[in-house]
């Protein structure tokens, strides 16, 4: 499985999910339309300052890969953040590191978050900023990220990688498959059994 496309570069450490999706857009009972508001406050602030946010750059449209720095997606557990990114068109994220809940949420949606060495991420970002048309390939079989003639090592936890390769990132079927075992495990827990007295 390889995701290939142009990339958006979003610089900065500790980008929180309130940034990615401001809370006012969570007032809804579905995820529909969230893509219109991804990074909305940052995009407005950039426009007001006469600058262009990466998600508004002409080259950003149609991009499939997002390049980020350290601890991307920290803070709130809102799945609205990766939902919005995925609906906007992001199919893979490459960064120095990811916050844990964001990583789980993105994985559950089928969006791999691959880590790369900080110096490699810096180099990838520089290449894409120089040449916004550059194609980035995130290859999950070889765990490699390729841009033009360069190749970088990517990492992904084994379980997540296997889920993407097998197409089994939606865990519901897996977790309900052996429901008798779930019932048995629950019955063994004293707090579910009501702390019964030991049998005579």
């Amino acid at each position: 499985m390889t995701i290939t496309g142009r990339a958006v570069v979003l610089r900065g450490d500790d980008v929180d999910t309130d940034r990615i999706m401001p809370a006012r857009f969570l007032r809804a009972v579905s995820f529909d339309g969230l893509e219109a508001h991804v990074f909305e406050d940052d995009r407005r602030a950039a426009a007001a300052a006469g600058a262009s946010h990466p998600f508004d750059a002409p080259a950003g449209g149609g991009a499939r890969v997002l390049l980020v720095n350290r601890n991307f997606g920290c803070g709130s557990s809102r799945e609205h953040a990766p939902q919005a990114l995925a609906r906007w068109g992001v199919q893979a994220i490459v960064g120095e590191s990811f916050a844990e809940i964001f990583f789980s949420n993105a994985t559950a949606l089928g969006v791999p978050c691959a880590c790369a060495r900080p110096e490699d991420v810096r180099e990838m970002m520089a290449i894409v900023e120089r040449d916004p048309g550059a194609l980035v390939a995130v290859d999950l079989e070889r765990m490699a990220i390729r841009i033009a003639d360069r190749e970088y090592v990517g990492t992904l936890p084994a379980a997540a990688r296997q889920a993407f390769l097998a197409g089994t990132w939606d865990a519901t079927a897996l977790l309900t498959a052996e429901f008798d075992a779930v019932r048995a495990a629950a019955a063994r827990l004293p707090y579910i059994a009501g702390f019964p007295p030991p049998r005579a």
């Binding site: 990766p82 379980a159 075992a181 629950a186």
Partner: protein, 472 residues
């Protein structure tokens, strides 16, 4: 073999090892609220599935509720839709709901403990990052997203990678005027906002052992702000004493059997940890954040750092944070003028938080330019505070006394900052725009420090006001 609480609880809840190498982990308690659940229930419906363990699932409404009066339908049509969706979903799937007609309604992380739903040795999940709060009881509790909420509803399980454990020992004793909030802010400043990724934090040592359950909840609540998905305190007699007589706690002889089991799941002396950190509690002072993440904080008597004071890698972030906050490098954080004072949230919206804030406020008025809000974390907290007359203390000082909810912590309800307002806040996140205005600013601190800032009209050392209160 000597084992940590995390390892014991993990093993007890392991259903099976999945082919991927992950653990299928049983979730003993699933807490649900209106923001992260509607899409999950819709997915269940689409797939023709039921809630697997409706008796291990409890719902409440907290994020979107107005706090200045709660007649239905809500004025905000979107909030009303979310409330109606939760009511319909709970009815259809048989999940108990503590709604606005219930005396038990409140912030999910306040009511779980107060009802005795949260107990030692459980695994707990909720579609909310501050689920780490429940670790205060020696539960393994973590936040999840909506797809995982769907999975827990459908199977009562999650597919998880094992967590490492970092033991954080807080030595010494806290000075008067220094609180649990200051301890956790000091820990996050030291270890960083991503230092906890991959870890559960086990909080230990004399300072933690002396803490009440409310205080332990404040500490565990902000584990996620340090990057740790879960944080916990080993259960002890404080834990057992808190749970005795709670509605969903075992009663009679079953309580004694429960207490014995709770004690048994605490980490064994001599258990091996993946990492260990010692913090000197005696050196912790009242903390205030100056930046745009919870790791960017200083003691109230310290100066705001500048880009030149930090490592190369952090320079740009510090410059950006100070520009957003409109603070000068090297300036004192004390004396920073505040426009709004917010006391509440799942971090600091419990009775003891209101008591400490009231102690500062009693007999004083808040500054004329400050808008002050006190928002109890639950209806029970609100009722208990009113029985003590705390609402009168706050009202006489010029604070608004509100209904229970998440309120101004996160801007999903009418309580929001406006424009560039700067808020002294007892909540958990100082992210840009977090409190509802895209340009609003947040200074995190303890509830007593918020009360002091409200009175002085600017950030001030609460210890000065406390010593004057005692002298009078």
């Amino acid at each position: 073999m000597r084992s940590t609480l995390l390892r014991k609880v993990w093993d007890l809840h392991t259903v099976r090892r999945l082919p991927s190498g992950q653990t299928q982990l049983l979730i003993g308690l699933h807490l649900v609220h209106e923001v992260t659940s509607p899409q999950a229930f819709d997915m269940l419906r689409l797939r023709g599935r039921r809630v697997a363990f409706p008796d291990r699932t409890f719902a409440t409404v907290d994020h979107i509720v107005p706090t200045d009066g709660q007649p239905r339908p809500f004025a905000d049509e979107l909030a009303e839709q979310m409330m109606a969706a939760l009511e319909r979903n709970c009815r259809e799937f048989g999940v108990p709901l503590f709604d606005l007609s219930s005396d038990d309604q409140g912030i999910v992380h306040v009511i779980g403990p107060e009802l005795g739903l949260t107990q030692p040795g459980m695994t707990i999940a909720c579609g909310d990052s501050h689920t780490s709060t429940h670790g205060a009881f020696g539960a393994v509790a973590f936040g999840i997203g909506t797809s995982q909420v769907r999975d827990v509803l459908a199977s009562q399980c999650l597919a998880m990678e094992p967590l490492k454990v970092r033991r954080i020992i807080v030595d010494g004793a806290l000075d008067p005027g220094v609180y649990a909030k200051d301890v956790i802010l000091a820990i996050i400043r030291r270890l960083g906002v991503q230092g906890g990724v991959g870890f559960a934090y086990e909080y230990a040592g004399p300072v933690i052992e002396r803490m009440t359950m409310d205080e332990r909840m404040t500490v565990c609540n902000m584990s996620i702000e340090g990057g740790a998905r879960a944080g916990y305190v080993n259960p002890d007699e404080t834990t057992v004493g808190y749970l005795r007589g709670r509605r969903f706690a075992p009663a009679g002889e079953a309580f004694d059997r429960a207490a014995a089991w709770w004690r048994s799941i605490a980490s064994d002396p001599g258990a091996a940890y993946d990492d260990e950190v010692r913090v000197d509690g005696t050196a912790v002072r009242p903390m205030v954040t100056w930046g745009t993440n919870p790791g960017q904080s200083a003691g109230v008597d310290e100066r705001v750092p500048g880009p030149a004071d930090v490592a190369d890698a952090d320079r740009a972030a510090v410059a950006d944070a100070l520009a957003y906050m409109d603070l000068e490098p090297g300036s004192r954080i004390a004396g920073t003028k505040v426009n709004v004072a917010f006391i509440g949230s799942c971090t600091n919206g419990r009775l003891s938080d209101l008591q400490e804030a009231a102690r500062v406020v009693r007999g004083r008025r808040i500054a004329a330019h400050v808008r002050g809000l006190v928002v109890p974390g639950s209806r029970r907290v609100r009722d208990a505070a009113e029985r003590e007359g705390l609402h009168e203390v706050f009202l006489e000082a010029g604070f608004e006394w509100r209904q229970a909810g998440c309120s101004m912590c996160l801007a999903m309800n009418p309580d929001r900052l406006e424009g560039r307002e700067l808020c002294a806040s007892s909540s958990n996140r100082n992210f840009k725009g977090r409190q509802g205005s895209p340009t609003g600013r947040t200074l995190l601190m303890s509830p007593a420090m918020v009360a002091a800032a409200a009175v002085a009209g600017e950030v001030t050392d609460v210890r000065l006001l406390l010593s004057r209160s005692e002298a009078s």
